[in-house]
Symmetry: C2
Subunit: 197 residues, 2 copies
Amino acid sequence: MNDALFLIPVGVSARHVHLSAIHVELLFGKGYQLQVYKHLSQPGQYAAKETVMLTGPKGTIDKARILGPNRPATQVEVSLTDAYCLGVSPPIRESGNLGGSSPITIIGPKGSIYLQEGLIIASRHIHMSEEDAVQFQVHEGDFVNVISRFERPIIFNEVKIRVSSQYCLEFHIDTDEANAARLKSGDQVLLLKNGSI
Amino acid sequence: MNDALFLIPVGVSARHVHLSAIHVELLFGKGYQLQVYKHLSQPGQYAAKETVMLTGPKGTIDKARILGPNRPATQVEVSLTDAYCLGVSPPIRESGNLGGSSPITIIGPKGSIYLQEGLIIASRHIHMSEEDAVQFQVHEGDFVNVISRFERPIIFNEVKIRVSSQYCLEFHIDTDEANAARLKSGDQVLLLKNGSI
């Protein structure tokens, strides 16, 4: 194993919603197209101007940002703090792995939808390009450690590597993980390969 | 150094308020005494039946639990998630170290108070008795690592040891830290001394 340390920029994901084209129309009206509010660091991804309300058995979150472009299946990602507020207990999952995930109600200005499943807590991961993977000597699906040396020093173990030519280098965590380490987007953490700890 | 591993039960602290006797009267009325709702694991400490509202420049938290007994100085402990909701940026501090901490408004049924300082995010720590300290070969003020091996495995670095005959063994973290590691009160983590990592 190569024990070299590599710097990775942090991307903190607040609660957000990915919508299918059909669900965009159900929530915002026939023929509606999401508007770009801000481009995200991952190529082609954007935060939309639109937000929706999320409701669960115990509470409501007023504004959850929609991320575009549309996806084949609607997916809602919240933190565990959000999940307690909503009164649900979603699994910690990779994006797109929705089988048996939690139900959620999504309310838009023109309609609302109830999903039997689709609510998850996103598992932390590192996006990187194929060139980064070669440089860091890791592969798609590897697990590594991430060292954060800010005000609340933490080592995140078992962080999954995700490699694609579409990805730019970023350690994705949710707001609970960011707050536990007092990390914010753009901060830099260290990748440490397994076997080194 | 002794590299032995020791099990420590977790205690998750939700947002809470410690009040001085004068502030109890200002918030709840002259001569008012806090009622015991539930005894806590630390000897003599209890959650009171009473809650207060906390407000900051950007938001409000409806119900913050009061912990008794009264203290010489009023102190409010929130998570970083709570702090964003209130619109304040409190320092991460040990309990009782309030100089230069954040302002906060506390609202009770009979009055409200504005503190120029008193709002902190509690820094994580391990309470233990003198007998535990001897067994674990650590001392008051030492820093150790804490290994959590639940669904979101994490190592918390630089965790302070606090030793007193009044303390019972517990690793105290806030809700952000608990959620980042998917820990709950009563779960067990491992103490690992510095030099071992």
